[in-house]
C-alpha cells in the first residue's frame, strides 16, 4: 500500500550558519513535515531556531511579516513564554546547542497564494552552557503574506556555525 508521508529532500550541512531548501514547496502538498536535527560546533547556549520563507523567485522575506508564540518547557525553572509579533523571522522555534537536539516543524499551506503560511514546532534540546539543562519548545508561527512560498531558510539567533541534516516530507 502506498505511503502518504512522502520524502521530498534532505540537506546536510557542515559548519555553516544557515540551511536553505529552495523550490521544495509545490501544489502537490498542502502540509509538510520538516525534521531538523543539528548541533552547533561550539557550545554557546541559547541557539534558537529562526525560520524565514522564500517566494517564487527564491527571495527571502526579511520584512516584519512574522508572528511567533512559543512555550519553552525546561527542567530548571518556570516555563518561558515568548510572544513575538511582527518580527523579521519566526523566532525561538526550539533550542539546539553542542550536544544536539531535534525539532519537528509542520508547515501548512506554504504554496497557497491565497493563504498565510502557518507553522507548528516541537523541539527537545539541550542547553550546554551552565546551567546545563533540557530545554524544549512547543510553538506556532505565521508568515503573514498571502503568497506562494517555495522554500525556506533556517538559522540561529547567535549566528553559530552548525552541522546537521534537514529532511522535508510532504503529507499527501
Amino acid at each position: 500500500m502506498a505511503t502518504n508521508l512522502e520524502f521530498i529532500k534532505s540537506v546536510t550541512i557542515s559548519s555553516t550558519t544557515v540551511i536553505d531548501m529552495n523550490f521544495v514547496f509545490s501544489d502537490e502538498y498542502d502540509v509538510y513535515v520538516l525534521k531538523w536535527d543539528f548541533s552547533v560546533d561550539t557550545a554557546s547556549g541559547g541557539n534558537w531556531n529562526y525560520l524565514r520563507f522564500k517566494d517564487s523567485g527564491n527571495t527571502i522575506d526579511t520584512g516584519t511579516n512574522y508572528d511567533s508564540a512559543v512555550l519553552h518547557p525546561r527542567t530548571d525553572g518556570t516555563f518561558s513564554e515568548y510572544k513575538l509579533p511582527s518580527t523579521t523571522s519566526m523566532q525561538r522555534m526550539g533550542i539546539q546547542d553542542q550536544l544536539g537536539g531535534g525539532t519537528i516543524f509542520t508547515i501548512y499551506n506554504p504554496f497557497d497564494s491565497g493563504s498565510y503560511t502557518f507553522v507548528q514546532c516541537q523541539n527537545s534540546g539541550w542547553d550546554n552552557v551552565s546551567p546545563t539543562r533540557l530545554f524544549g519548545a512547543k510553538g506556532i508561527g505565521v508568515h503573514k503574506v498571502a503568497q506562494s512560498n517555495t522554500g525556506f531558510r533556517i538559522f540561529n539567533n547567535a549566528v553559530s556555525s552548525m552541522s546537521g541534516t534537514a529532511s522535508l516530507y510532504g503529507v499527501k
Binding site: T3, N4, A69, I140, A146, V171
Partner: protein
Amino acid sequence: MSGSLIKIHEVTVTSAVSSVTLGGSDWDSSYDVYMVKFSNLKPTTDNVLNRVRILVSSSPVITAEYDSANKGLRSDTTFDNNASVNQAYWEFDRSGNATGENTNATLYLFNFNNASEYNFITTEFSGSSPFDLIYGATGGGVHTVAQASNGIQFFFSSGNIDTGSKFTLYGLKK
C-alpha cells in the same frame, strides 16, 4: 512504495457546510492510532470556536462527556490555560476569516476501536485569530465513556465551514 502513514478518508469542502465528518462508513478499524490533519480551515462567520465530537456508530455523540485541557499560544499576551469538563464537545482554538487567515491542525486519536477504554485525542492547532494575531493550542482531550467509536466531526460554534477547508484521516500502520 510501502509506508506506515495510510490515508483513510479525505474531505475538501466545495460549498459551505455546517459540519464535516471523517470516518463513519469510511472508518477502517485496523489501526490503533489515527492522525487527522486539517488545513486552510475557514469559517463563514468571523471569530468562532473550533469544536470536535466523536462518532459512535457513525453518529456524533452529543452528550456532555468531553473533557479537554490545552495551552493557548498567542502572540499578544500571556498564554491561556484552557480546561473544561463534561462538555458536549471538545473546543479548541478560535478562527477568523479575513484574507489569508485560516486554521490548521494535527490531531492524534487513541483507543477509538477499544470498547473498554476511553477515547483520547491530542491536538496541535496553529492559525490566525480574528484579532490579527497568531493563535494556537497544544493539548488534549478525553471522552469519558468506555466505548468504541468510528470517526470524528468538526464544526464551529456559529456559522458554517467554508469552501476550501480540507480534512484528512490517516491510520498509523502497526
